[in-house]
Structure formats: structure tokens, C-alpha cells
């Protein structure tokens, strides 16, 4: 009997080498399977990379990263990236990479802000006790979530260039901004000498406000006396820069766009590609953020609100101190995931020619140079880094928001 039990455990009492023992030994099996996997993966890579070099030689494609130093030789739609990198067709391919990267980050940044605002609005509207508002928000979510994002990008871009008016009949907003099929024309800010100090004042204001908030929070914890800090914050962040601005004699001028005979002159033009892409991405991602926020608020137990009312908190205090902190704990992780999705989806801009990473570097440069492995590898690395950064952020937020003391 004892022998059977020991045998079934895979460890026979027979010492020494025995093939049957080895076959039923868990550790030996694990070792064997892992070695087999390793060999298969290495074999696959070995064959693939061997073929790769053979193919590359046969097709006369170069290898290595020297192409980054070569002249790019093509124009890029003028947008922020061009100005930051100072791009001309004479610039090397590496500059194209930077231009694309900057434009991707710009779209992601503005898209994240816009989608959060729209998502917050729609998510709260969805829970409104106003029948019409709640149904409208629900219709918005169902409409925009169930249409592929690529289709939405193409749709808005088409609307822009085919349906919006010619520059001559631009939609005008108080003659300050103009919207037509060539894009959105905004007043162009021209900073003069001394404007730098306004920026410095703004940063100092933020830092000072942070410390004041920290000071009063500590005071609140020690003495229980609550002081509202928002007047200080407002004065420091808005007031201080304004005072500095006036002291230096308004060192910021605007160049307004003026409607000429055929076209708009001056101002700052935001290209329709950017507007269509940002709009589509924000509207689409906002539906997911709205759902995250709605489920976050719904996840807060009704008893929490009742308890807050019972201990005499006002409506606003109850929302600020009881409901929101708990709702955000549920809502923020999926929202941050949506930020990553938005950034990844910005690569779809290649269909409308907005000069982001995949349409400039992963598109035009790839077609010219043909070194697909290097170029796509670099592009993927960028998205990997962005995604790694966002997961780190997510981990940090999760840690910070975890229920403490349990």
C-alpha cells in the first residue's frame, strides 16, 4: 500500500536513475516542457531572422539606422511639430520622427482633455433626473460608441473639406475666430519682451498655492479648524500673473485673422486634419469615459449618501467628501485605460493625412526608405513607452486610491 501511494506521488522509493520515474516526475516534466518551448521559440526566431537577412539582401534593402541621417526630401503639413523641430524638406529622417512624435503627443494631450470634459458631462447627464437630458446622453453614448472610430474620423474630415463653407463664407465668431473648410483661424498670440515673467509668475503661483493648501490641511488635521483655501488659490494662480502682466505693460499682442477677398489673412490656422481627428477621438473616447463615470457614481452605496446627510453634511460636502472619492476610485482606472486607447487610436490619422507618427515616419519615410523592420520597430517602441508610462501612472493611482487601513 505504501508503495502505491509513493508511486502515485511520482517519487518512487527506488533511488537512482529510472526512466519511468523521470517521466512521472513533475519537476522533470516542467523542465522538459520549458526547454521544448524555448527551443521552438528560438528555432522560429532563427529561421525568421535567417530568412529576413536573405530576403533583405535579395531585395537590395539596406539595414541599420543610417537612413535616419539621410535627407527626408518631402513636405509635411504645417503643424506644431514642424515649428518645434524647425522642419524643412532638407531635414534628416530623424527630424520626421520627432515631428511625428510631437504631433502624436499634441493630439493625445488635447484629446485626453476634451474627452474627459465631454465624458464627465455626458456621464453626469446620463444620471440626471431630467428625462430628456438623460435620454439624450444615452443616445449620444449608443450612437458614437457603436460606430468604428476610423469611420468617424473619415466622416468628420469629409464634412470639413466637402461640406463646410469656403473661406469667403466662413462661420465667424465675433470676428475673432473663423471656421471654414481650411480649418479654424484663431488670433495668434505674439509674446513680447517680459512675457516670460508672466509665465514665471504663473508657475510660482501654482507652487505657492500648493504649499498654502498643504499648510491649512495640516492645520485642519492638528486643530480641526477648517479654512477654505480657494480664495488664496484663485489670487495666486490668476491674480499674480495678471498683476505681473500689467506691471510689464501688457507684453502680449494678438494677430487677428482678417477676412480678405478670397482668403483669411494672418492669425493662426489650425488645420482641418487636426480638428477632425481630435473631435472624432474625443467624441468616441468620451462615450467610454462617460460609462466609467456613470458606473463609478452608481457604485457608491446609497447608505453612504444617507449617512452623510445624517451626520449633517451639506449636499456639496457630501458630494465632495463622501460620494466623489468613492466614485472616482471605481471610475479612474478605466478612464486612464481609455487615455491609452485614445493615444493608440491617434495612429489612425494616417487615413486623413494628419502628420503624426504613423503617417509621417511610419508612412512616407517607410515608403521612401523601405526599411520596414527598423522603422516599424521604432514606431512600436514609442507606443510601448507611452503605454508603459500610462500603466505606471495607473499603478500609482491605484496605490494612492486603495482603501487604507484594511
Amino acid at each position: 500500500m505504501k508503495k502505491i501511494i509513493l508511486d502515485s506521488l511520482g517519487q518512487s522509493q527506488h533511488r537512482g536513475f529510472n526512466f519511468r520515474n523521470l517521466l512521472y516526475n513533475n519537476e522533470a516534466r516542467a523542465f522538459f516542457f520549458q526547454i521544448a518551448t524555448l527551443l521552438i521559440v528560438i528555432g522560429l526566431f532563427y529561421t525568421a531572422i535567417g530568412n529576413l537577412f536573405e530576403n533583405i539582401e535579395a531585395r537590395g534593402i539596406q539595414t541599420g539606422f543610417t537612413f535616419l541621417k539621410n535627407r527626408a526630401g518631402f513636405d509635411i503639413l504645417p503643424f506644431l511639430g514642424n515649428y518645434v523641430v524647425d522642419y524643412t524638406p532638407e531635414s534628416p529622417n530623424l527630424s520626421v520622427f520627432y515631428v511625428g512624435l510631437i504631433n502624436t503627443l499634441v493630439v493625445a494631450f488635447i484629446g485626453i482633455i476634451l474627452s474627459t470634459l465631454i465624458g464627465l458631462l455626458i456621464g453626469i447627464a446620463r444620471l440626471s433626473n431630467n428625462y430628456l437630458i438623460s435620454k439624450l446622453a444615452g443616445g449620444y453614448i449608443e450612437l458614437f460608441r457603436n460606430v468604428p472610430i476610423l469611420l468617424q474620423i473619415l466622416f468628420w474630415y469629409n464634412l470639413f473639406i466637402n461640406v463646410f463653407p469656403h473661406p469667403k463664407q466662413s462661420f465667424s465668431f465675433f470676428d475673432l475666430a473663423f471656421l471654414n473648410q481650411r480649418g479654424l483661424y484663431l488670433p495668434k498670440p505674439i509674446p513680447e519682451e517680459g512675457f516670460l515673467f508672466v509665465g514665471i509668475a504663473f508657475i510660482i503661483g501654482i507652487i505657492a498655492a500648493y504649499f498654502i493648501k498643504k499648510f491649512y490641511k495640516k492645520k485642519h488635521e492638528l486643530t480641526g479648524i477648517h479654512t477654505s483655501t480657494w480664495p488664496y488659490t484663485a489670487v495666486l494662480i490668476i491674480g499674480l500673473p495678471i498683476i505681473v502682466y500689467l506691471l510689464f505693460g501688457s507684453p502680449l499682442q494678438f494677430d487677428y485673422a482678417i477676412l480678405g477677398k478670397f482668403n483669411l489673412k494672418g492669425g493662426m490656422a489650425v488645420v482641418p486634419e487636426f480638428l477632425a481627428l481630435t473631435f472624432a477621438l474625443s467624441v468616441y473616447t468620451a462615450t467610454y469615459i462617460a460609462e466609467a463615470i456613470r458606473s463609478g457614481i452608481e457604485a457608491v452605496d446609497k447608505g453612504q449618501k444617507e449617512a452623510a446627510a445624517a451626520i449633517g453634511l451639506t449636499q456639496i460636502q457630501s458630494l465632495k467628501l463622501i460620494v466623489l472619492p468613492q466614485a472616482l476610485r471605481v471610475a479612474i482606472p478605466p478612464t486612464i485605460n481609455q487615455y491609452l486607447n485614445l493615444t493608440k487610436n491617434s495612429s489612425l490619422a494616417t487615413v486623413i493625412g494628419y502628420p503624426e507618427l504613423m503617417s509621417t515616419f511610419g508612412g512616407t519615410v517607410l515608403n521612401q526608405v523601405g526599411q520596414a523592420v527598423e522603422i516599424l520597430g521604432m514606431a512600436m517602441l514609442v507606443y510601448l513607452v507611452i503605454s508603459l508610462f500610462i500603466s505606471l501612472l495607473l499603478n500609482y493611482v491605484n496605490k494612492k486610491m486603495a482603501i487604507q487601513g484594511r
Binding site: 530568412n51 529576413l52 536573405e54 533583405i56 469629409n158 466637402n162 493608440k344 495612429s347 511610419g362
Partner: protein, 383 residues
């Protein structure tokens, strides 16, 4: 002696019943709500009438003569042309003229019956499946469908094997191609996803490492980079002179690998929800690793993950539109292609609206279905 008259019950005040009560509680409960209601009505007022004008009242319906299942229906004397359409309304004859392209792409017109049979077969599966639910040989029917349905569909659509004339993959297009990519993507990626999920949960370090690396890498990059990889780099990895992998197959490989990573995460969620005791019980009764997963763990884990699997499949369906970037002619690509026809220039808006409606109807019904599943499984877990 007093006489007590029975009092007639008074009716409730008019403001406390019926439509007025509903309006008061739902639309005008406070002055803020009243303002919001007015704002929403204004929003609807500026959006709906122009849309209706464009779609119906100013739209052109001069189809000429339409052939409807063999019957000629005469709509108007005028021919269906772009010039008969105004600029202020939609031009629906364009959609009618290009409907074939939107559905089948460049599939030969004489062979249309083949995809039609596949469409019919697919639709009838949705009818048959609920019927065989209580049938004795349910498992056998399901299994044979899983095996034979893709084979029959493939033979019908692509032809060959000496049975039917071959239709090359570059002729496939439109909604047909969209559905092919989505269904092949889901069917192929699902088993890979399950294996990857098991690999990530495995105690064997090397297998766990490779699975995790693969899943996390794929999930971190956009689908378009994977599609570019599949279409530009994959041919370089194959033996020199091997041209058997055509454009569609490359896209399908890319999509299947991409979707597998997402399915793996969904299934992993299900695996983690299985109580530890189930694994231990399976070990205790001496089941092998394969038996343990096939008989005990996976049936439970997959059942829990069904709503998320459907959700992930919906995402894949939306993502199939991306294949137009690498030059496949799916339904969305048809908008650009058909409006490049000099006869129908400048009708992109109609095309996009049409594709939006078709896509929305399919995706919305799928998402309703997934929500229904979620509710059903939720109640089961709660009890």
C-alpha cells in the same frame, strides 16, 4: 338626529396626475431642470430638422427603374444620375447603384449566389442554435457545425477544388470582406487566446514569460502597427520566393494575433475568478494538466467570460475597418472607391452615412446581445 351624507371622493388636483405629473417630475422638477429641458429641446431643434431635410425632404429619390427580386419597379422617368441630385440633399440613387460594390466588392456578378448561400447559412445558424438547445445530440450538432461550417463557407466563397470557379481574394470586398475578416479573426484567435491565457497562468516560468511578453507587447501597440508589420515585414520572415501568403491572409494573421492577446486577457479574467479549490480538487482526484483544464477549469472560466468575449469580439468587428489602410477593400474602403467613379463624384457624405447606418445597426444589436448575456450571467452568479 343628523344624517350623514356620503362625501363624494374628490379627484386629485390636475397637477398631480397623468401627463402633467410626469412632466413636472421628469422635466420641470426645479428651475435648473426647466432650463436644461429648454436647452435640450433647442439642441434637438437645431439638429433634427436639417438632418431630416438632408436625408428625406431635400433628398433625391429619382432611382429610375429598380429591379426588386426580378420585378421592375418604376420610380421616376428620369435616369438615376448624379446630375439629377441636388447639393442640398442626399443622393440615394448613388447608394442603390453602388449597393453591389458595398456588399460584394469586385466579386463576379455571376457567382453572387455563393456568398448569398453563406449569408443565408450564417443567418439560419442563429435560428437553429436556440432550437437545438434541448436536443439530445446537441453537442454533436454543435461540434460538426464548428468543423464543417467554416470549410463549406470557404469552399463556397473562394471556389477551387475542381468544384467551383476560383474567385481570387483581391476580388472579395465590401460587407462580405468585413464579415469574413471579423469571423475568421474571432474563430482563429480564440483558441490561441485560450492557450496564451493558460500560458500566462502557468507555473512554468519560461512559458509564462513568453505568454506575458507576447500579450503585453501586442496590447501596448496600436493595431495599425501590427497590420503594417504583417503586410511589410511578415513576407520578409518567410522563405525567399514564397509568395503563397497574399494580402488578405497577411492581414488575417495580423488581426488574429492582435485579437488573441485581447481574448487571452479576457479568459485570464475568467481563470482568476475560479476558486482555488476547483484546481486543488482536480489535482486531488489525479487529473492530468490537460484533463484538469479541459474538464474542470476551462468550462467554468469560459462561461464566466462569455459577456467579455462578446464585448471583445465587438471591438474586433469595429477594428476590421482598419484593413483599408493596407489596401483591402472592405465596406468602408468602398466609399472612397465608388466616389472616385467620375459618374458619382463628391458623394462621400452619402457613402459614409450609409456605412455608418449599416455598421451601427450590426454593432448596436451585438452590444444589446452582450448586455443581455451579462444580465443573465449576473443573476446566476448572485444566487
Amino acid at each position: 338626529m343628523s344624517v350623514y351624507d356620503q362625501q363624494v371622493t374628490r379627484k386629485p388636483p390636475i397637477s398631480q396626475i397623468g401627463a402633467i405629473l410626469w412632466l413636472r417630475t421628469n422635466l420641470f422638477s426645479s428651475w435648473i431642470n426647466a432650463v436644461l429641458t429648454a436647452a435640450s429641446i433647442y439642441l434637438l431643434y437645431i439638429m433634427i430638422p436639417p438632418l431630416l431635410d438632408w436625408m428625406f425632404f431635400n433628398a433625391s429619390f429619382s432611382f429610375g427603374t429598380i429591379n426588386f427580386f426580378g420585378f421592375d419597379i418604376k420610380f421616376s422617368e428620369a435616369m438615376a444620375t448624379n446630375t439629377n441630385c441636388g447639393r442640398e440633399g442626399a443622393c440615394w440613387p448613388y447608394i442603390y447603384e453602388k449597393l453591389y460594390m458595398y456588399t460584394y466588392g469586385f466579386y463576379p456578378r455571376t457567382e453572387t449566389w455563393r456568398p448569398n448561400i453563406v449569408f443565408g447559412l450564417t443567418a439560419s445558424l442563429f435560428v437553429i442554435f436556440p432550437l437545438v438547445k434541448n436536443y439530445k445530440y446537441k453537442n454533436r450538432v454543435t461540434l460538426s457545425l464548428i468543423v464543417f461550417y467554416p470549410i463549406i463557407s470557404y469552399i463556397l466563397i473562394s471556389g477551387g477544388f475542381g468544384l467551383l470557379p476560383v474567385v481570387e481574394t483581391h476580388q472579395w470586398g465590401g460587407l462580405l470582406l468585413t464579415l469574413i475578416i471579423a469571423s475568421v479573426g474571432i474563430i482563429v484567435s480564440f483558441p490561441i487566446g485560450v492557450v496564451l491565457a493558460l500560458g500566462r497562468q502557468s507555473e512554468l516560468r519560461v512559458i509564462k514569460l513568453f505568454s506575458t511578453l507576447f500579450i503585453e507587447f501586442i496590447r501596448a501597440v496600436p493595431l495599425i502597427t501590427i497590420l503594417f508589420m504583417a503586410s511589410f515585414v511578415l513576407p520578409l520572415f518567410l522563405e525567399p520566393g514564397n509568395n503563397s501568403v497574399d494580402k488578405l491572409l497577411r492581414a488575417l494573421i495580423g488581426i488574429a494575433l492582435f485579437q488573441a492577446a485581447y481574448f487571452a486577457e479576457v479568459v485570464r479574467g475568467g481563470l482568476q475568478a475560479i476558486p482555488r479549490g476547483q484546481y486543488e480538487a482536480a489535482d486531488a482526484i489525479g487529473l492530468s494538466y490537460f484533463q484538469k483544464n479541459a474538464l474542470i477549469v476551462l468550462p467554468q472560466a469560459l462561461k464566466i467570460s462569455i459577456p467579455n468575449i462578446v464585448g471583445s469580439s465587438i471591438s474586433l468587428f469595429k477594428d476590421t475597418t482598419l484593413v483599408l489602410i493596407i489596401g483591402l477593400l472592405d465596406m468602408l474602403a468602398m466609399v472612397g472607391l465608388t466616389t472616385a467613379d467620375p459618374y458619382w463624384l463628391g458623394r462621400e457624405t452619402e457613402g459614409y452615412v450609409f456605412v455608418t447606418i449599416v455598421m451601427w445597426v450590426m454593432l448596436y444589436s451585438m452590444s444589446r446581445y452582450s448586455r443581455k448575456l451579462e444580465l443573465r450571467f449576473n443573476t446566476e452568479n448572485a444566487n
